[in-house]
Symmetry: C2
Subunit: 598 residues, 2 copies
């Protein structure tokens, strides 16, 4: 392909709104353009690399026996009402009414559509397992799209859904997917960090996120360099680092006046103690809580309800007190997982006053019986602690966990931070920001139950299949490849994703050199190598700069001076080599084949 | 690929709502399933054929130098407001509001998106011509989707848009597209009827529709078997077949009483004349009329306006009288094209009474000066005609065109029907129903002007590029292939589109036969042939029925009885042949290669 026929509008300037390297380089190399905020167009060169990511994913999905299908992007809202997500999902779900008043959604994921398809076809256990995928347009009505295609509104996702008669069968597919994902990212030249979820928090199911490091990542990862523990902070645990308690509780519980003392720092100064001796008590409001509250204090009058006929009963609104060591903070995602709640937020000041009977700042676990008290593991060893006394300007001291109060529930809701101790090996962990490229997840019966999908087992009894889902974002994968493979001059494509393997720069593209360049291009193409010939009349310097910017792995310069040898330079290397034109095809072919081996 | 791993849910019954063969067979062969009205899912087998259509289109587009890009499906409404289509398009355009209140559309076509992209990049004539395409999801909010994927709500279209400095350059691309379309349909095994538009009606531009015959087609085609004239009835012309007028007008115009005479038939009986002597006068209401009305009667008070800043001035509402021979009918699409109107409908009875001063049924051209009178060519030779007299129960007779009235405009608005005379060769034409699979169209400056796209020419002056657009519906193409290639047993895929080239039916898939089938499958696949092995434990009869239904071109039956020979049968042929297993690969390979040559 000739450069001039390909439409590659390279830019010297960095667009003002492009904050990260991949966004900058995708614009500057002419891979994408912006149609509107969060809506991007892949130009010819960008689309070639995009298709290579797509094809790698397709090959690896087919290799594990997943079957590609093509549902619609626009999906009936009724299916989302069946699953409960119509009401459960927020404004990120783009809802559409058609001319007849019917509700539809622009798919952000497709659990409902796939389950509806399988529901119509599934009758017998003999058909299971089933494993379908699509590579299709998705839409998420991001309120603040940014970082180019890394977080756009419209994007392409490979999403697979599998259905099984047994947990063992689900696990088999789940493991195969995990392996396929590792191969996909490896073939894309990406260093991913597979992050396993704490199986406890997910209700016994498994889940694994595939992360790449990114300074602008949406996720915080907790990593251990000693034992390779890796967890999303939303699920990360750590080893207990509480100081050993005093041998015996020193004194009985004592109520003290603490006038004008508002913050933990002030209190520590006032009492000459440190934050680790303090029990911080926070009041949370939780929405649609699934955890059993029958024996919880203060919840007798709450009524539970079902969002859909088949979904479990939930309490629409419940308040909780969460007690944690004064130097730590509560992780709301972990808390929500413990409570099986849709959402958890700090209670309003008015609610705090109403529930604790005291101004904000004086909540504490002792004698708090209006709401259930949850204790983080970090306070269980405290036997000489300080806490609010449910009265203005008053605290307790010499408070002993278990002696002076007993929580309704003791669990882990602490936010793990760098410097905490690895839950596996006990060494200190560190933090990284990361972006999620892929996610595999054992869904269990969440959708299959609410959407009434069933089959007959060997004994003729109806059973509900168990389900898994597996996603990869294509645009984000492509951008992440550029994040990992670039230098100050431009992109450095891995051979597997490069829009072209070779760029030939003839100096000039005219006469004898033109003929030689065209002949070499044909010979390379005949060998299955993808070639871009820079046929433009620009100065060699301009061509070199563009070649580096668009990141073609092999650059061949042809000039009268060197013919019948040509100059081969590998992108990212400083040296170039003079090679006889007669052997260049073989050399490049071998290099490419070697690069494509994984 | 083994049949049992592919998920091919074949059906014996025809779904109740499937009216046409392709819809029935796509369901029965397990190619598609319905997610909702007008929303279909391609299952694995259907998707394979779909992708082959897609790939043929892609190859032919690339071959003529069109460049593939990937814009979004969701497009900013602002672009559609710029072009004027936001208000001009009806309810078929699915409009969406995002969470921030922004307007978006789900693209039914992409003139706006492509023009916006090119607008940002185009600066110099040196960049022209540009020719971009996408193969992407489209949405049309059909009020009554039917015939399966033939007229769905969500569908896939290849749409290309080209931009040019000169009409010659546009014509070159337009011609190349026309040739590419012919190759595409030929490679898909489709007999298409290319239908050229009357260039007059399209304002001097060119347009060609690619039709397939279909009993449920949306279009009526007027065809001549003598000279191959082919036209959409919306644009078809015919040779004048008016009887020669009497040598001189017989008598002066005469007003006569015609009490209780309402229909043309009653009038003919009453006056002992025939419908060909009658001038039928219809009152039409036209919306957004662009034709110049400065010298038209009764339009002095009308004011024109612009829908967008750059669009031409139009009259929001104009009434016209259209006079046509009593035995003919007015074609409203032709009329709208003449008037350059967005829409043309018969006026309401109240409007007819108001404008003609007479009850409905007595309109006529004589002395009608409240609105412009348009005469169809069919009445220009009448010099002893009958027409309404703008009074209740009254008609004129002995009316002579040109003597007793002069129309504001004389033009061709007649609906051509079977039996009319070909405008080219004068032989009788016939009618067929047809479906449009593709359309190529010279748009001129319609979008480039309203959307302010411009470039600098050789002299440094700003110019507006001229534009063409070129579409093919993929789903409809696939369904049409089945319409043309099936029998009572199922689909008969052309090799180019078949999901697999060969189906091997081992009887049974076990022991020695299984080993032989697997070996043959591997050998065929090594030769680049796509193979489905029916590994199911069903009876041979079931497998034969399914093989015919899903329409695989080559069926190879392997059984103990015949080994080391196998039985080869070509789909659609009645005889089968015993062929030594050692030569079968070569034979099938040669047949396939021959079929794929065009």
């Amino acid at each position: 392909m000739n450069f001039s026929r390909m439409f590659i509008p390279t830019l010297r300037e960095v667009p003002a709104d492009a904050m990260i390297s991949s966004h900058q380089l995708m614009f500057r190399a002419g891979l994408i353009r912006k149609l509107a905020n969060g809506l991007f167009v892949y130009l010819p060169l960008g689309l070639r690399s995009f298709r290579k990511v797509e094809q790698i994913i397709r090959e690896e999905m087919n290799a594990i026996g997943a079957l590609e299908i093509k549902p619609t992007v626009v999906v009936p809202g009724d299916l989302w009402k069946e699953s409960g997500r119509w009401s459960a999902m927020g404004d990120e779900l783009l809802r559409v009414k058609n001319r007849l008043g019917g509700d539809f959604v622009l798919s952000p994921t497709a659990e409902e559509a796939f389950t509806a398809i399988v529901r119509d076809e599934l009758s017998s256990y003999k058909q299971l397992p089933l494993n379908f995928y699509q590579i299709n347009t998705k839409y998420r009505d991001e309120i603040r799209p940014r970082y180019g295609v890394m977080r756009g509104r419209e994007f392409t996702m490979k999403d697979a859904y599998s259905y099984h008669a047994t947990e063992e069968s689900l696990d088999q597919t789940y493991q195969a997917m995990g392996q396929a994902y590792r191969r996909i990212f490896q073939r894309c030249g990406l260093s991913v960090i597979p992050v396993k979820a704490d199986s406890g928090a997910m209700g016994g199911s498994g889940s694994e996120e595939f992360m790449v490091e990114s300074e602008v990542g949406d996720n915080t990862l907790i990593l251990c360099s000693t034992c390779n523990y890796a967890a999303n902070v939303e699920k990360a645990a750590c080893k207990d680092d509480s100081p050993e308690p005093a041998p015996i509780p020193v004194s009985p519980l004592e109520k003290i006046d603490t006038p004008n003392v508002r913050t933990i720092e002030e209190l520590c100064r006032f009492l000459n103690c440190n934050a680790q001796q303090f029990i911080k008590t926070l009041i949370y409001r939780a929405v649609n809580v699934e955890i059993d509250l029958q024996k919880a204090p203060g919840t007798q009058k709450l009524e539970s309800r079902r969002l859909t006929l088949e979904s479990p009963a939930v309490y629409p609104e419940v308040f909780f007190a969460v007690c944690i060591r004064g130097d730590l903070s509560v992780n709301e995602v972990k808390l929500a997982a413990v409570l099986k709640a849709q959402e958890v937020t700090l209670a309003s000041d008015a609610d705090v006053v109403r529930l604790t009977g005291a101004p904000v700042g004086f909540a504490g676990p002792v004698a708090l019986n209006t709401i259930p008290v949850i204790a983080d593991l970090s306070i269980t060893k405290l036997n000489d602690a300080v806490a609010g006394a449910l009265e203005a300007d008053t605290h307790y001291r010499h408070l002993s966990f278990g002696r002076d109060f007993t929580p309704w529930l003791t669990t882990d809701v602490r936010t793990v931070v760098a410097g905490d101790y690895c839950p596996l090996c006990g060494k200190k962990v560190y933090e990284k920001k990361g972006n999620e490229l892929g996610h595999i997840f054992k869904l269990g019966h969440k959708y299959t139950k609410t959407m009434h999908i069933r089959y007959l087992d060997e004994t003729g009894a109806y059973q509900i299949p168990t389900m898994g889902c597996y996603g990869i974002g294509l645009d984000r994968t492509l951008a992440s490849i550029i994040e990992e493979h670039h230098d100050q001059y431009g992109i450095m494509w891995p051979v597997s994703i490069a829009p072209y393997h070779v760029i030939i720069i003839p100096i000039p593209y005219d006469g004898e050199i033109k003929a030689a360049a065209d002949a070499l291009s044909s010979a390379l193409e005949k060998a299955g190598i993808e070639v871009l010939v820079d046929d433009r009349s620009d100065r060699p310097g301009v061509k070199f700069i563009d070649a580096d910017l668009i990141g073609i792995p092999f650059r061949i310069v042809m000039s009268k001076k060197n013919l019948p040898a040509v100059e081969l330079k590998i992108r990212g290397k400083t040296e170039s080599h003079l090679i006889p034109v007669g052997t260049i095809v073989e050399i490049v072919k071998n290099r490419i084949e070697k690069e494509l081996e994984i």
